[in-house]
């Protein structure tokens, strides 16, 4: 089992026997309890669960933003368990992208500066190929006439599109999205979800999205359900109604 790389399984990220607990003794809280999952390459995966299910903690650990109490984590074929801060930073910089719920842009930089930030942090200019890709993204996201604006001059939906352009711009192996529609109205939220789904379907971008919204999850190719720190269900594309039904069932079972 240890000889098989995540890559050969078609996985872009993987966690094994992951446990995360806070505190100690009688006050200890277990956020993740022996979780083992893989995120498949080129798929749009939703990680669903009610508040406190551990879905955000799982994503933080997978993205190298937080460390696990025990268990192992891979991004691609690189095991990131136990990596030093600087090495983790390099992984985040070069191999993963992020879309956050809010406050996701640097207010002092204009839109173009924000989109190019991952390259800037890496101390390099985009190659002409990358430049072309970014121009294409900017065009398809409708940001072409906004490049010189500052984030606060844009609507929430536009800001989130900038964040998507930034996350996709460096063609990372995996994009993590944390409640990307949490601060958006439903129409703008649907647009953002369609964009994420399209980038996965059209360009084969692997995406892992954390959400508690059944409508958001219905855009994904695959849905993982978490409850009380455990994966309780793994299903393929489902409608919002089916997802809601399952969630309600989860409530009554617990």
């Amino acid at each position: 089992m240890t000889e098989i790389t995540p890559d050969s399984l078609g996985l872009v990220a993987r966690v094994a026997q992951l446990t995360k607990s806070y505190g100690a003794g009688s006050t200890a809280v277990t956020a993740l309890d022996d979780v083992s999952i893989g995120i498949r390459k080129g798929e749009f995966t939703a990680i669903m669960g009610p508040s406190g299910s551990g879905k955000s903690t799982l994503m933080h650990i997978m993205a190298g933003l937080d460390t696990a109490t025990s268990g192992r984590v891979w991004i691609g074929n690189t095991e990131i368990t136990g990596l030093q801060d600087t090495e983790l930073t390099m992984i985040r910089r070069r191999r993963v992208g992020f879309v956050f719920q809010s406050f996701n842009l640097v207010p002092t930089l204009d839109i173009e500066g924000n989109i190019l930030l991952p390259f800037e942090l890496d101390g390099r200019k985009p190659t002409s190929g990358e430049r072309g890709w970014i121009d294409e993204l900017v065009g398809s996201l409708g940001l072409a006439d906004r490049l010189r604006h500052r984030p606060h001059e844009l609507s929430g939906g536009q800001q989130q599109r900038v964040a998507i352009a930034r996350a996709l711009g460096s063609r990372p192996e995996l994009v993590f999205a944390d409640e990307p529609t949490g601060n958006l109205d439903s129409r703008t939220g649907r647009e953002v979800l369609s964009l994420l789904a399209a980038s996965s379907a059209t360009y084969g971008q692997s995406i892992a999205m954390v959400t508690h919204d059944p409508i958001a999850a219905s855009y994904a190719d695959r849905i993982l359900f978490l409850a009380d720190g455990k994966v309780v269900e793994d299903r393929t594309r489902s409608t919002a109604a089916e997802i809601s039904e399952y969630m309600l069932g989860m409530e009554s079972r617990s």
Partner: protein, 461 residues
């Protein structure tokens, strides 16, 4: 409604204490110095000398208190920015903006009072210590010295009032907080509007122009008579007041220029943007230092230029020690204002890092190393210090030269205009002080910044 937090106001209390201690001690020292000088002079009238020394002392106290007030206004404005959500929540449940602002101002009154009390005690202790040392070294006679002269009420009341006013000025943005900001995750607030300052900036510009014209006139008058220097003092006060009021016109462009000199690395570029993010705040953050550097430079350059003009003359050697002594004493006294300004800079940088926790977490999440974060904060500190030092040096050399030129234009051996003489020690001292300040100012903020976990960027309040 807002309970008074010592922790939050510690820097403002420190600034008020420093201003009060400086004022109280300086007046006590001058009063006692006059007593000491006249004690072995039977004919001497100590009253006249005391008043004269006290007037000079009060000029320095006014400068220090003004700088302290500017620093405090800035600290309050930064604290208010951090309290936006709380204020918005109180507004949401029905508090008026005016009552919120009054609450902040009453905190200012409290800060001023506490600072004045601490400062009075500390300042008196310093004077007492100086007197003891002076007597022990046989520098001053062992006579009865006085500490509780009514005149020390001037700096005490002055500090309380200016701190109160400063908190009122600094809390202006309370009025801009909308109750909406309590709901949901408000977007990063837009840049502070400079719209309300158009009138002030225009007034500042006019003052500067008039002052500069009077300065030019003083040089012309100085060609005929040393009275020119009095015209120059008048012009200098007017033009410098214009510069201080118009700091928002001068400091942001200087900061941008210095920012560009820091290089093109991502850390330096982001730092450059941060330093001009709130032009009003960074102008206030640096103007206190500008005042200090300008005045020290002015005295040093004026004295050096004056000495050079006199050097061919026979009695120059007699004047030199006296002049050097005056420059040294004035530098120390003004240096105190610069110290207060430095406290403000350190504190504001810390607060601004604290308030940018999410943004710094975002940078970490996107791949900024903690080393780069540290570089960024240090660059910001360097940029603020360097901008203040550069402006201060330029202004100080200008004023110092006009002062010397308008005084010695008629001196024998001086033909037409003299070049300003810039003492090397001055440049060295200013550079060392600036570098030290940058280093000290970045310690706490960099520690705080690098301890931020990248996860905070994803958390929702």
């Amino acid at each position: 409604m807002n309970s008074f937090s010592f922790r939050e106001h510690r820097p403002s209390i420190l600034v008020a204490s420093l201003s009060a201690a400086f004022g109280v001690s300086l007046l006590q020292v001058t009063t006692n110095l006059a007593l000491a000088i006249t004690s072995n002079d039977v004919l001497g009238s100590s009253a006249a000398l005391t008043v004269m020394l006290q007037v000079i002392a009060i000029v320095f106290i006014v400068i220090a208190t003004y700088v302290g007030a500017v620093v405090t206004a800035n600290t309050f404005s930064t604290i208010i920015a951090g309290r936006t959500r709380t204020i918005a929540l109180l507004r949401l449940v029905g508090a008026t903006a005016a009552s919120q602002r009054r609450a902040v101002a009453s905190e200012g009154l409290m800060v001023g009072t506490i600072g004045a009390i601490i400062g009075t005690i500390a300042g008196s202790l310093v004077t007492f210590g100086l007197v003891l040392v002076g007597i022990a070294l046989d520098f001053i006679p062992s006579i009865g010295y006085t500490y509780l002269e009514p005149v020390i009420l001037i700096p005490i009341v002055g500090v309380v009032l200016t701190t109160w006013i400063a908190s009122w000025v600094g809390s202006r943005r309370v009025l801009l907080v909308s109750p909406m900001q309590a709901t949901g995750a408000a977007l990063e607030e837009s840049r502070e509007e400079a719209a309300g300052h158009k009138g002030r900036n225009r007034f500042a510009f006019v003052l500067f122009l008039i002052g500069t014209a009077i300065l030019a006139l003083s040089v012309v008058v100085g060609m005929q008579s040393p009275v020119g220097v009095l015209v120059g003092v008048f012009g200098g006060i007017i033009s410098f007041t214009g510069l201080i009021l118009g700091a928002e016109l001068i400091m942001p462009p200087t900061l941008r220029l210095v920012g560009r000199m820091l290089g093109r690395s991502p850390a330096a570029r982001l730092a450059a943007e941060n330093a001009v993010r709130y032009p009003e705040r960074s102008s206030r953050m640096t103007i206190g230092l500008v005042i200090g550097v300008t005045l020290v430079t002015m005295f040093a350059v004026a004295a050096a230029t004056f000495q050079k003009a006199l050097s061919p003359m026979a009695d120059a050697a007699d004047v030199d020690p006296l002049l050097n002594g005056i420059v040294a004493v004035f530098s120390v006294l003004i240096g105190f204002s610069a110290l207060i300004a430095a406290v403000g800079l350190v504190n504001n940088l810390s607060l601004s890092v604290l308030q940018r926790t999410r943004e710094l977490g975002l940078l970490r999440a996107l791949g900024f190393t903690s080393r780069q974060l540290r570089q960024m904060v240090t660059s910001e500190a360097a940029q603020l210090t360097a901008a203040a030092v550069i402006v201060g040096l330029v202004l100080g050399i200008g004023y110092g030269w006009v002062g010397a030129q308008s005084f010695i234009g008629t001196a024998p051996g001086v033909e037409g205009l003299m070049a300003p003489v810039i003492p090397l020690w001055l440049i060295g001292a200013v550079v060392v002080a600036g570098a030290t300040l940058t280093a000290v100012a970045s310690v706490a903020p960099t520690r705080r910044a690098t301890s931020i976990a990248p996860v905070v960027a994803l958390s929702v309040e």
